[in-house]
């Protein structure tokens, strides 16, 4: 489809009055031409600071600092700032006469009437209303899902649920038969990992096997119900959702600033899944939680936290141009909203009509109108000393104060003395900065470079201090904040941008939603941005995609691949559903069950399809190599979180208590550099000082200090001869801060910093937190094997695993059995038992069989953890 740009002269000058026109032409334009165009004009070929004053639109967009003119507001207009020689000095060599300055002030206060409107009048789309109507009527994903009649099957006895009938029907049509049921322990292991992300305990395996032998259906149903009631269900399924919503605790990109309050959203998602919050409500809260009517402050706070969904995306805070930054943030929000909830990408219509789906460019800008009417909060509030920021963090933001503060606040509090000390430090730094500025220009060469470095350092220190002061009240108690969005007061439509360029505006587009998904034209009230309406429309039964997309995600996590394998693309270029009737049926059931995720999980997990074996069948494979018809269970590698959690669970070290906040929250608002939260040099210096102090304290008279590293290994003697952590050990603690190898809590609570994901997740294809990930990759690489062989976390867990075994039994055969049961969910075969015994003897030939040390058993345990069977669910 071709995009037709209609270029036409401006029809009118935005209806200026004669007086306004005269004022501009006599008082403003001559000054702009004479004094400004030389350096700030396209025609002059000179656009210093990115500022162009050629047209009304470009003047309003402004340059790197912001809009040159804000109609009606001289104080916010950089042009006025510059000509009054405040922060900028314009013209550079002299000041304009006061009369001219007054004219500009008056002009801005008049609303900056300007006849120099851009010539592009209208962009016409090649996607016509008929095209949209046709797509709406013909494409499967744009039809509202309807309840399907159950298909007839020959092997009725095999089926347990409606799901089985739909799957079996297709298999029979193709001449295939479903695989047999898996072994009891396999089914339990599958259920356990799928629902709570943890392996079953040995006693659970025993009781399940006993129940299975009597009544397999009842055993499965009871186990599913039990697992759904645990807190671990929310932790497991929240992680799936966090993948999709690109959850992270930092901005990413060139200047990676932390989001110290993102963890509230993580906890909110976990609680929602545990509470089985209706999915439609869950959707609405995330898109428009700040606008939803509430009856309690607690509910209001929760809804505000939910809007973090729109604020946690990656951001280029180093962006020079404010307007560009705002456009990029809105684009990211639109992309996330449409792909996460609707399984379709609208964002490519930012620059042109969608190439394949019936989404004209105007539809994108209709959504931009909805999202540009919000303010996004993702940074740190100003302190009483003002707003400070690091040198490279140009686009700052505040935070939302929660209506209900934490009863037990996580964030750091300060005593009155500490607070006074911080304020004094701030004052001193400000004075130091002032002194440095006074002295600038007096130094040359190396001194000048040092002075510049000093200024940058002081800038950063001021930003850090201000950041600390900003988040506590006058008594030093932490204020409860969240990220999120809030509505602005005056909703407005936006202009379509030619090729998505902010300086190429075309016609104004009314706020609205993608037409192809709307059976009825959408009317948005003039006094409303339409965001609440959008949230309700997305979460409604009239929306053809929302329920289908979520059902497909849940199916994928339980069965191994989606009914639509392109989970984020239900459009024309996406894959067709393998079982469209089943998808519709499940979508309808999902909506009718009050959008209950737990009900749907139960429905799928108790089906016969779910418990099939994963046995390979060459003949069937030739016919259906992708297993699209689901003739067997899909063997799956555990995801990164499940592998780490399983190791902790098997070793008995796992801590099921939810940690407060996160490592990022502890560090506060700071820049991430070199995998370290804050300035690596400062942190290393403090770590060395702390280690030195500890050593001195422990080396008191008569004491014989024992220095041990995180793995229980003794520290080496320091370079200067004193006992203490070796420098490399301290360096490791600093540089591996985000890996958190000593943490025992579940993996969902590990710090997720963009581009610096913990090693334990990264090596096993953890989700890229800068992208919307509906389906993770599942690789099998040498680095994974090396990680399992050498990583100190794995070694720690293997040792604990071995200790656990020795505590249960001292009989070698029982120890081996127990190790297999914990790691694989089954006992070893006779061949495995024999091979294991041989391994132990060979590993420790000098030790007697009975006096085998924990170290030897730890080697066995590590081998089990490093094996493929441990990492796979069959």
């Amino acid at each position: 489809m071709l995009l037709c740009a209609v270029i036409a002269p401006a029809a009118h000058s935005d209806e200026l009055t004669r007086d306004e026109l005269n004022f501009f032409e006599t008082k403003i334009r001559p000054v702009l031409v004479r004094e400004c165009y030389g350096c700030h004009s396209n025609k002059a070929g000179n656009v210093r600071g990115g500022l162009r004053l050629d047209s009304k639109e470009l003047t309003h967009i402004g340059g790197s600092s912001g809009p040159a003119v804000v109609p009606g507001n001289p104080e916010e207009s950089w042009l006025y700032n510059a000509i009054t020689h405040q922060d900028y000095v314009m013209p550079p060599k002299r000041k304009l006469p006061q009369q001219v300055i007054d004219d500009f002030r008056k002009w801005i206060e008049m609303g900056a009437p300007d006849p120099r409107v851009t010539n592009i009048a209208e962009i016409r789309s090649s996607i016509t209303a008929d095209d949209i109507q046709q797509a709406r009527e013909s494409f499967w994903a744009y039809q509202i899902p309807v309840r399907q009649s159950l298909p007839q099957v020959e092997n009725n006895s095999w089926t347990r649920t409606d799901i089985d009938r739909f799957i079996l029907s297709k298999l029979e049509t193709s001449g295939l038969q479903p695989a047999d049921d898996a072994e009891a322990w396999q089914v339990l292991r599958r259920l356990s990992f799928d629902i709570v992300g943890l392996p079953p305990a040995p006693e659970q395996i025993d009781s399940f096997t006993a129940a299975w032998n009597i009544d397999p259906d009842g055993a499965v149903a009871d186990t599913v119900d039990r697992l759904l009631k645990t807190e671990q269900f929310g932790e497991r399924w929240a992680r799936h959702w966090l993948d999709v919503v690109r959850y992270a605790e930092s901005t990413g990109r060139e200047v990676n600033m932390t989001y110290p309050h993102a963890w509230r959203y993580r906890d909110y998602v976990i609680d929602c899944f545990n509470d089985d919050k209706p999915f439609d409500q869950f959707v609405q809260e995330q898109i428009a939680g700040d606008l939803l009517p509430v009856s309690t402050d607690q509910q209001w706070s929760e809804n505000l936290v939910a809007t973090s969904f729109l604020a946690i995306g990656p951001k280029n805070v180093n962006e020079q141009n404010r307007v560009q930054f705002a456009a990029d943030v809105a684009d990211e929000q639109i992309d996330a909203t449409t792909r996460v909830f609707l399984g379709m990408s609208v964002a490519c219509a930012r620059c042109h009509d969608h190439k394949f789906d019936a989404i004209p460019q105007a539809d994108y800008y209709a959504l931009v109108g909805v999202f540009r009417n919000i303010t996004t909060y993702f940074g740190n509030p100003p302190s009483e000393f003002g707003a400070f920021s690091g040198v490279q963090s140009k686009r700052n933001s505040s935070l939302i104060r929660l209506p209900v503060g934490d009863p037990n606040p996580y964030d750091k509090s300060y005593s009155k003395q500490e607070l006074a000390s911080l304020k004094q430090e701030m004052t001193d730094k400000l004075q130091e900065m002032a002194e440095t500025r006074r002295n600038r220009g007096r130094s040359t060469g190396t001194d000048a470079k040092n002075a510049q470095r000093n200024r940058i350092r002081m800038n950063n220190e001021l930003a850090n201090l201000s950041g600390q002061l900003a988040v506590v009240d006058a008594s030093g108690n932490p204020i409860s904040y969240c990220m999120g969005v809030l509505e602005r007061d005056a909703p407005a439509n936006t202009k379509l941008l030619v090729r998505g360029e902010i300086d190429q505006p075309a016609q104004v587009v009314q706020r609205g939603f993608p037409q192809v998904l709307c059976s009825e034209p959408v009317e948005i009230e003039a006094d409303s941005s339409g965001r609440l309406q959008l949230a309700r429309w997305i979460a409604s039964k009239e929306n053809p995609l929302t329920a289908r997309v979520m059902v497909n995600r849940i199916w994928q996590h339980l069965i191994g691949q989606g009914i639509v394998t392109s989970t984020e693309n239900f459009g024309v270029t996406g894959h067709l559903p393998s079982h469209p009737e089943l998808l519709d049926q499940l979508a309808v059931q999902f909506m009718e069950s009050d959008w209950s995720v737990k009900t749907l999980v139960r429905e799928i997990a108790t089906s016969r399809v779910y418990r099939m074996k994963s046995t390979f069948n060459e003949q069937y494979h030739d016919y259906d190599p992708d297993n699209a018809l689901v003739w067997r269970a899909n063997p799956r590698r555990l995801d990164a979180e499940a592998i780490r959690d399983a190791m902790l669970s098997i070793s008995g070290e796992i801590d099921f208590d939810r940690p407060r906040g996160s490592e990022v929250a502890k560090a506060g608002y700071t820049r991430v550099q070199g995998g370290v939260l804050g300035n690596p040099r400062d942190i290393a210096r403090k770590a060395f000082e702390r280690a030195a102090n500890n050593t001195r304290a422990a080396s008191g008279p008569g004491s014989r200090p024992q220095f041990r590293g995180p793995a229980g290994r003794p520290f080496q003697r320091g370079r200067r001869g004193g006992m203490g952590p070796a420098p490399e050990e301290i360096a490791r603690q600093v540089t591996n801060q985000l890996d958190m190898e000593n943490a025992k809590f579940r993996s969902v609570y590990l710090p997720i910093v963009r581009d610096e994901e913990p090693r334990s997740l990264e090596v096993f294809d953890g989700a890229d937190s800068s992208a919307i990930i509906g389906q993770r990759e599942s690789s099998n690489t040498a680095t994974q094997a090396l990680y399992m062989m050498n990583n100190r976390f794995v070694i720690q867990q293997s040792t604990s695993f071995a200790r656990r075994i020795t505590e249960v039994s001292s009989i070698p055969a029982e120890q081996i059995d127990y190790a297999f049961l914990l790691a694989y969910g089954r006992k070893p075969t006779s061949g495995e038992r024999s091979a294991t015994s041989s391994f132990l003897r060979a590993f420790s030939p000098s030790a007697s069989y009975r006096s085998r040390s924990v170290e030897t058993l730890a080697a066995l345990c590590q081998s089990l953890l490093a094996s493929a069977e441990f990492r796979y669910v069959n």
Binding site: G49, S65, Q86, D87, V89, D290, R395, N396, A470
Partner: protein, 146 residues
């Protein structure tokens, strides 16, 4: 010791120095490097350069000639230069009311003091979209019940 004759000359030099400080650090303004943003805080030191020099001299005499002999002695002159130095550092317009927090450093401005734009790294407290941010964070408005 009185400096009767050089007063005007010194003031002129001082004014010239103030005006020159609008140049970039190092005093080496590249040709055509017009209008680059000053990294130093506050208003341009020469913000008052367009004022009538006679008025400035009169105001300074009024302010620093403590003994009222229409001349500045060494102490008075020292006080005047110290004052000028402080103003340069703070970017304060001579005689302008700043509404500064008592006891605050010369660079300090409270947030939300209208008409003043923090400079250097202390740009206006903004949200990412350029809207002014409030100290202590944004208090949300409770949604209206339907």
């Amino acid at each position: 010791m009185k400096y009767t004759t050089p007063i005007v000359a010194i003031l002129s030099v001082a004014l010239l120095a103030v005006t020159c400080s609008a140049e970039p650090p190092g005093g080496q303004r590249a040709k055509g490097a017009n209008g680059q943003r000053r990294a130093s805080g506050g208003q341009r030191p020469g913000a008052g350069a367009d004022r009538d020099p006679k008025q400035m001299v009169a105001r300074m005499m009024n302010e620093f000639d403590k003994d009222g002999d229409s001349k500045l002695n060494a102490m008075e002159l020292t006080a005047m230069f110290a004052s000028m130095r402080d103003r340069r550092g703070s970017g304060e317009r001579p005689g302008a009311a700043t509404g500064r927090t008592p006891g605050a450093g010369p660079q300090q401005r409270g947030p939300g003091q209208s008409g003043q734009k923090p400079a250097g790294n202390r740009r206006r407290g903004q949200n990412g979209d350029g809207k002014p941010a409030k100290a202590g964070g944004q208090a949300p408005k409770r949604p209206v019940a339907e």
